[in-house]
Amino acid sequence: MRNLRWAWAALTAVLLGYGFYQAMYVAPTEATMGNIQRIFYYHVSAWLGMGVFFAVNLCASIVYLAARRSNPLRALGADALALASAEMGVVFCTVGLVTGSLWARPVWGIWWTWDERLTSTLLLYLIYISYLLLRRFADGDQMRTLAAVLAIFGYLDVPIVYFSTRWFRTQHPGPVIGTGNLDASMWPPLLWNWAAWLAWGILLTSLRYNIERRRQMAEQRAALHSLEATLELTK
């Protein structure tokens, strides 16, 4: 497992390097925006990462709710995965929001606008921040159940974010994926960066999942230890 993780980390490093090279040196300069458009390759990759890891969080939360009574061990594993993927999704969401704002300032002349895409994304960000805060400041099975329910409700905002540029006239540019609006020469840099950041996300999520599982086990041993100590006292 350790060797596999190192191999995955090496592959990720190569992909990140190649993705950067593609975005900076291979991708053509966009006709109207110039070089600032190169933010697009990291910005869109961040949104893809966010969508993927929030979807993993949703699935893990559903598994937790389904298995929490019948199979508590599996439920704990699902809960650890839900936490790891939510954190990763929030990191990607932060990158997406900040890179978008850095792109908007020179192109639109403003850092932020309250259009449907940006507002629904900010709302999504705040929902998952509150999910992480709930997990940080509460504990036990009730917290896990509440967090799983919040994750399911939170994910309802993801399709709204995705379709907002199709449903409304937004300041944010219209959809480019699946509409033929992206030049063919821009696809390879985008796909390389997607692959690179997804590989990175998988690596970090697996590390975080592993740590959370170890923490759960250690906490169970700690609880058992205190129970044993109490029994000794009552003898």
């Binding site: 600032i36 900040v98 890179t99 041993r221």
Partner: protein, 46 residues
């Protein structure tokens, strides 16, 4: 301004991701400490 913002965006993307990796490292250290206090059960005879 455009070039500066492009650099900021790429630097921020890496800083945020590696910052999170560092935070995972801190979590790992905290769990190791907890594991030292409550070590995993062993099947080996003492």
């Amino acid at each position: 301004m455009a070039h500066r913002h492009l650099i900021y965006a790429y630097v921020f993307a890496f800083a945020a991701q590696f910052g999170y990796l560092g935070w995972i490292g801190l979590k790992d250290r905290a769990v190791r400490r907890l594991e030292k206090e409550f070590p995993p059960y062993s099947t080996q005879p003492e």
